[in-house]
Amino acid sequence: SDSIYFYDEAAQAKFQHDKPWQQDPNFFRRVKISALALLKMVVHARSGGTIEIMGLMQGKTDGDTIIVMDAFALPVEGTETRVNAQADAYEYMVDYSQTNKRVGRLENVVGWYHSHPGYGCWLSGIDVSTQMLNQKFQEPFLAVVIDPTRTVTAGKVEIGAFRTYPEGYKPADEPVSEYQTIPLNKIEDFGVHCKQYYALDITYFKSSLDSHLLDLLWNKYWVNTLSSSPLLGNRDYVAGQIFDLADKLEQAENQLAHARLGSFFMPSQRKKEEESQLAKITRDSSKITVEQVHGLMSQVIKDILFNSVHQ
């Protein structure tokens, strides 16, 4: 089961030489991420709070699958909306990769990861251009986005893996991606670029040692589950979500009002658009509410479990 951890240098060199991805822009379809790399990326993303963080991933390829073995943070300063690897990050990347080779870690850098705190896993305009550049000169290269804030709310890791299409390429069919709420102030950035990249399927793997260590930590897991309060931890995020929802409702209402004044017979296309927009808002609203009710249920269960027993 640990054979995935073996690095076949010859096979990787041959793959690099053949460059199969050049014939098919959708060549890579799957990503396998090791438990270690996932933990390191999530912990790093959460350490950034509301500030975006950035790092690199090391690994290899196996057919149409990119395998991420490890990840490491980059010394870059993020802001709410921008993460640009400064010059010192490039120097750091080169040093880190060379030092790895010297100590026998043969995996190359196979991608970069960064965080979108609270606004979902997708590629913004800047992300698309960064990824295109990397895919031009550093193939095979993957872009991973993590949302640490939604990870806490949803109780599972919010993560997406993407690859961009070559400049000017029109994908045959609309890339199907799981629905996610995009904040109003980012919808434009999302909408403009969402056809320039596609999402890969993500699976995880762990070594026998990882399994042993995670078993040892088992009691930490159930203790954390019982003693955490999603309602408490994410108040700011939920308030931001409701604020965003109100904005979207207002925008939809204005458009509706506008349309009513304009013409009596709304073209069916237009009607469909309004509905889909309202449908999305309703969906967002029920998603937020369900998460809140889940949080409340856990509080009530904890109250019954730990506060109702009296001496």
């Binding site: 009691n219 159930w222 203790v223 019982l226 003693s227 955490s228 309060s229 408490l232 730990f306």
Partner: protein, 335 residues
Amino acid sequence: EDQLHAHLICCLENFVNSSPSLWLLPLAYGRKGSRVKVLAFREKLAELYESERQWSKAAQMLSGIDLDSGIRIDDAKKLAKCVKIATLYLEDDDSVNAEAFVNKASFLVGNSQHEAISLQYKVCYARILDLKRKFLEAALRYYDISQIEKRHISDEVVDEDALEQTLSAAVTCTILAAAGPQRSRVLATLYKDERCTKLKIYPILQKVYLERILRKPEIDAFAEGLKPHQKAFLPDNFTVLDRAMIEHNLLSASKLYTNISFEELGALLGIAPQKAEKIASRMIYEDRMRGSIDQVEAVIHFEDDTEELQQWDQQIVGLCQALNDILESMGRKGI
């Protein structure tokens, strides 16, 4: 200079007479000594005093060298001299005189290329802070020194024991520092430094970091390793150690109890209730502990700025851990 000259010759002769072995001393210095010769005399005499372990005398001898004017001495030598004099004064725990020369050295150390001298300067500075009972600042500097990665500086070998002693001094000073958020941060840094687990002082570091109440035997054992100035009496007739321990235990009690009468608090801390009230009120005033005092009832109410709901989660963590421990020990007993 001539009078001084004559005085030096006379001192030398006394030395030579008092310790014949010093005949070896090259009496090449004639009455016609010059400034440079005076410098050489002083250095030689200081060496002799040092070999006799008369630290302050050696320091006084060197401090008579006029570093500021006259003889052309470059900054590196001046810095070395100042650090040497401060080190000698510190051997006799004389922080006042030592500080004068450390302050002089502080103007020169920035441009120094000599790492060994810079390191000695840092050690002097930390020890002066320690002697002046600025324990938290001293602890941070001791800890900084203990983290040296190089084992060879200039042509000298960095002694592992010395580094361990410096780390131990950092722990001691942190424990003696005034209880409060800053001290807690330094305690956390030290507690997470795995080198500390090997120190003799580690058990008490662990109890202090985990905010557990320290009992008298543990305090006495810790006191054995303290320097005289760390056991000195303060104006209120408590020693530095007493004050640090009482404040620590008071802070620990504030984590354990929601409120407590001063009668019981005094018994817990081993001091009079009035004293306990006085120390508690000062810590609350200095914002090192959160709470309020009801003087009519003679009760202190501790406050915890953690939100109730978060405290609830912390209680649940404790409950679950306790349950898990019971299950594990039942498993071990085969029940």
